[in-house]
């Protein structure tokens, strides 16, 4: 909103005597931001462009042709990747989708419950509970993952889907965002009116509050989806059977084997390219629904 106002005000400012030499100066200034941002975009897109092109090269072309020249081996690379250990790559991709999809869904539900409770009720121990949950953000993941592994090993749960899914359901950051969003989106008098009508607390939450919280919960879901999809450390510690690996861990093991055999490079590169695709697609499709502002905890009220 404010940028719009600034933009509208700009031409008017140019007509005032104070900025008489304005036009040429402003044109030059407007060039600097645009060029700076374009350079930034080139920097961030460069490795992505590289992997797109490199994935089209055959193993021979990869080392012999100029890097940004497309090759002819994309179909063969796909075939090789598909043939690698009976298509274990697709299993990894399915696993990543399962971990991230189901994990983010459960995580969003837990965040919504907690955030709603922390935002709308006044109760004993509220701030303490919130602060203790938030302290979880500060815990280095390795420090949690190693004892989590040892404890799950005692319960005979390591190297299972659950061992990767369960520890990622509670997201302190998700709870934090849900609290902020619920506080801004669910008016106290609406909850009170529901109570006056004799609705149960659960009914008030599911029928009144939850629909109001949906946009914020989409953000929590996507944030958590990306976090789980990108997680490497937890599966790295928990899993040894590559049938349960997510993409990140699978690609890492592929690279580990491929480092000494350049013939496997094309597999790693094609695998990396396909691994990036779903998230970029997800990003482009849902960026309209995703209030990025909320990532920083900013809520327009």
């Amino acid at each position: 909103m404010s940028t719009l106002a600034v933009r509208k005000a700009a031409p008017a400012a140019g007509t005032t005597p104070g900025t008489a030499q304005g036009p040429p100066l402003r044109r030059r200034i407007a060039l600097i931001p645009t060029v700076t941002l374009l350079l930034g975009a080139i920097y961030t897109l460069l490795p992505v462009a590289w992997v797109v092109i490199a994935s089209t090269k055959s193993g021979h072309e990869l080392f012999s042709t100029f890097t940004f020249l497309p090759g002819t081996g994309f179909a063969d690379n796909l075939k090789d990747l598909d043939a690698y250990r009976d298509g274990v790559y697709w299993t990894w991709m399915g696993n990543s989708a399962l971990y991230a999809g189901l994990g983010a869904l459960l995580s969003t539900a837990v965040s919504a419950f907690s955030g709603y409770a922390l935002a709308t009720y006044r109760f004993k121990g509220r701030e303490t509970m919130f602060n203790v949950l938030l302290a979880g953000v500060l815990m280095p993941p390795v420090i949690l993952a190693i004892p989590q592994y040892l404890l799950l090993a005692k319960a005979d749960l390591t190297d299972s889907y659950l061992s990767v899914l369960l520890p990622q359901i509670l997201s302190p950051y998700g709870v934090y965002l849900a609290r902020i969003y619920a506080a801004a989106a669910v008016p106290a008098d609406v909850v009170e009116a529901g109570r006056m009508d004799g609705a149960s607390e659960w009914r008030i939450f599911t029928r009144i509050a939850l629909p109001m919280m949906i946009p914020g919960m989409v953000t929590v879901f996507l944030f958590q989806f990306v976090a789980i999809w990108n997680n490497f450390l937890l599966p790295y510690i928990m899993l040894s059977d590559d049938e349960r690996f997510p993409l990140t861990l699978g690609l890492y093991t592929l690279l580990e084997q491929g480092a000494n055999t350049p013939a496997l490079y094309t597999l790693v590169i094609t695998g990396a390219f396909l691994a990036v695709l779903p998230l970029i697609a997800l990003f482009l499709v849902i960026q309209r629904f995703w209030s990025l502002d909320l990532l920083s905890g900013a809520v327009k009220s």
Binding site: R7, T19, G40, S114, L170, E201, L255
Partner: protein, 308 residues
């Protein structure tokens, strides 16, 4: 009437605890219990009697502070901490400097292609750290990298990016690439929340965009700069994925390159979970102390500014 009111108010009283139950259970099982267990393990060790064979020959016994004194004397841990310090001194200023620069540019008047460039710069956020390290890792390899191709054509010297000093820059670049977009969005969001009237007076006074950026915008987004700085420091201390992924490509990244890699190596490479637990506890304590110290300093500054 009165009984139904009291039942209802009882329901209201219990409700928040009910809503918080799943989070509480998960927190107890996957945060509190593991942390407690790690602390407990850090005071334990294995006592081997005889040759360590047969049942009962290996017993877990109380170790006191032995694992902690061991961790302090461990040069690998200290070296890792120093390496991460050097790495952080590059990553944090460069990443946040770029994030602030891009945010200010996005916020300036008459900028073109802003939606496209904003999305492009934010894109690496969606790319797993492992994949990012893998992509850049290949771009650092002389055989396949376009940079070396260009250097070769220009007849310039070709440094080995995966060794010595350049390795720090190579690793830092991966972190900067991955983190700038997210921080840019955080700073940009708070820039947009500044009301337009604030600039109007300055503009009428003939202030240049640069002056407005330096004198008005940057001071006003200081809180979000503090926040991004804080989270960047924590993320830097915890670096693990990127050096681990580059490890297969170079001999210069060893298994104890960063403190967290050292913890992992001790726990699973050397099977010494007790030392690993002590090191992990130490890192957690340092992180918490830094965090609280930092937040207190930031709070104090805010209060002073509010008072002044």
């Amino acid at each position: 009437m009165s009984s139904s009111t009291s039942r209802r108010s009882y329901g209201v009283k219990g409700a928040p605890y009910g809503f918080l139950l799943p989070a509480t259970i998960l927190f107890a099982l996957f945060f509190a219990l593991p942390i407690g267990y790690a602390v407990w393990l850090s005071f334990r060790k294995v006592h081997v009697s005889g040759l360590g064979l047969g049942p009962g020959a290996r017993q877990e016994v109380w170790a006191g502070l032995e694992n902690y004194t061991g961790a302090f004397r461990d040069s690998e841990l200290l070296d890792g901490a120093l390496r991460v310090l050097g790495y952080g001194c590059v990553v944090v200023p460069v990443m946040l400097g770029l994030a602030l620069l891009f945010a200010l540019m996005l916020d300036s008047d008459r900028v073109r292609l802003a939606p496209f460039t904003r999305l492009a710069i934010f894109l690496p956020y969606a790319i797993p750290g492992v994949v990012a390290a893998l992509l850049w890792g290949f771009l650092y390899l002389p055989d396949v990298s376009p940079f070396y191709f260009v250097l070769d054509r220009l007849g310039l010297p070709q440094p080995d990016l995966l060794d010595g000093g350049p390795l720090y820059l190579a690793l830092s670049n991966i972190a900067v690439w991955g983190g700038t977009g997210f921080n840019m969005i955080v700073i940009y969001t708070s820039l947009r929340s500044i009301p337009a009237e604030v600039y109007e007076a300055a503009k009428l006074d003939g202030a240049t965009p640069l002056q407005i950026a330096l004198r008005i915008k940057i001071p006003m987004v200081a809180p979000s700069l503090v926040l991004t700085f804080f989270f960047s420091i924590i993320a830097t201390l915890q670096v693990f994925n990127e050096p681990t992924t580059l490890k297969p490509l170079t001999n210069s990244v060893n298994t104890t390159w960063s403190p967290l890699m050292k913890v992992y190596q001790d726990a699973f490479g050397r099977n010494d979970i007790y030392s690993a637990a002590a090191e992990a506890t130490l890192i957690a304590v340092v992180t918490l102390l830094l965090s609280f110290g930092f937040l207190r300093a930031a709070n104090r500054r805010n209060k002073q500014e509010a008072a002044g």
